[in-house]
Amino acid sequence: MLCKGVKRKREEEEEQEPAAQDWWLEEASSSLSPEEEASPAPLPPSSLFNLSIFKLHHGLRRGEPDLRHLVLVVNTLRRIQSSMALEPPAPEPPSPAPVSPLPVVPDAPMCTSVSALLDDLSHIEGLSDTQTAFPEDAPLSRPPEPGPDPGRPAPLGSLEILLEDGLEGLFDDIDTSMYDCELWPNLKTDSGETEDKTQGPGLDVSELDYLMDVLVGTQTL
């Protein structure tokens, strides 16, 4: 899943990519009735939601995620989710596919599709513990926070449960600034990475590099 530090080599990722993508494409195409396939209709929000989740996971699995890509996908997910929350349940075209009908927020059909998503993800990621964490009848999303908070973006509800640490885990992995590490208490905190260069006191960047080399073992003290 989204464990920190699990960084796959590029070749492994590329091998698994086609399999993961095929899964999504299969679901999407089978959800359309023959009439709909003839004239391509926009995908229902639930499929877009699944697609966005897939993109998010794929983006995070990469060595160093593209922050712009990530932010845009997350913002799109928020839009989709808030629109899914607002929409009344719409009649679905008859379809044998596992893709769920448009859900109202905490709903069994939503659980089904998310569980299906998790099943497939755990198959891909090789982790089995995610399956046990989500009993199907438990509500998957928290009720929306009372009143809009302009400063804080809307919580993603079920998305947060998918991520181990909630949204903190989403971006946390990216910002592993070496200056946050407690090994160097002289340095300023997070916001001061670049200020450090201008203001002087504390360890020199070249000294830090040297210390890192020592730790990694390429150099000996």
Binding site: R79, E168, F171, T198
Partner: protein, 491 residues
Amino acid sequence: MAGAGGGGGLGGGPAAMGGSDLQWCFSQVKGAIDEDVAEADIISTVEFNYSGDLLATGDKGGRVVIFQKEQEMVSPLRVAVSSARHSCGARGRHSPYVAMSRLSNKSRLHSRGEYNVYSTFQSHEPEFDYLKSLEIEEKINKIRWLPQQNAAHFLLSTNDKTIKLWKISERDKRAEGYNLKDEDGRLRDPFRITALRVPILKPMDLMVEASPRRIFANAHTYHINSISVNSDHETYLSADDLRINLWHLEITDRSFNIVDIKPVNMEELTEVITAAEFHPHQCNVFVYSSSKGTIRLCDMRSSALCDRHSKFFEEPEDPSSRSFFSEIISSISDVKFSHSGRYMMTRDYLSVKVWDLNMETRPVETYQVHEYLRSKLCSLYENDCIFDKFECCWSGSDSALMTGSYNNFFRMFDRSMRRDVTLEASRESSKPRAILKPRKVCTGGKRKKDEISVDSLDFNKKILHTAWHPLDNVIAVAATNNLYIFQDKAN
């Protein structure tokens, strides 16, 4: 053409002409013809220098290739006259050394102004960040030239993390007859020297050397997307997803952070910086664009940390075209000031907008690049094409704009005539001086002959990087691993 004295050299020929009145002809194509494109050969940035005599490209493999325009030998008097004319009209300062470098070039019989390889060097190598266990890509994100101040040329090139200042200099003489070393370079025993001689300079084959003069490292936690040289020619800015730093070209061990949009709590992150540029004349002013389609203009005189903008440019969203993808397609992928400094241009996924710096509420001009893609946004989101970052550029006289699209198409907009044209960079239309035929995309209904339907477009053939000669109607278009150079017929 530069130096020839024709057309005024002010970047547009006769005043009425703009991008679409001109007839564009194929001039050259650089790069391998193979269908199998090596990832490392994919061109990632293209930039003319201030005189337009040099054209630099950077690629995913971290290499920089510089092309030089072949000059016909002109008399010193004519060179002085034409360079004076150039300094009146074009942006920036032109030093007398521009004329000097022309004199030193070898003369060629043909004067069609072909660009030939001048220098190739490995700018960045793949690196490994030991702390994060991550590879740092060597891909060159941007190249920016410095104005020429002596016989050598300087440029800044950057990958995701490190900016380098390169000096490109010519050597066409070598010294012979050293006292302390012999012809092979071996040191001579001083006691064996019985007579002194004066070394003499002998001509040699022109050698162009590139050497890294400064390395500006360790100042960016996130990926660098832009660099921009200031009009003071002493400082430059570098921007990553969340921060913008100001550097002095002489100082590598420190930089000033002038913009920081990183939220205290990373889970509140909703917006990133996508591009930044200094104003061409006002050295205290710069702009940066965001993933939410906004542009902020900042004045460095107002405060040291420019988190609070002086001007905020945003066009209100059109409620009728709202979709899940509204934000993604509003994300600005490039921002460029006009040469005059009065306007700036932004590129989002579907359009190019021209803004008057004095009006923040909406752009003064909007040009649709490929509006036919609006109904395909879902598929483009699925295959990630919606995240492609297209660049844009102004013509030398600011009368025309250019930007790329898919299927190796690129678009040119004539601002004064309000006309536009779609052209294609392809091997098929690559006969010398062949005039490019305008292309048309069929959006529905009956497809006419020579039109191409939207569904037939090749989304793997994207033109993200284009450059327009600062003075003449010469354009460089990067199509994956090939660099196309087109000139207008008059040239």
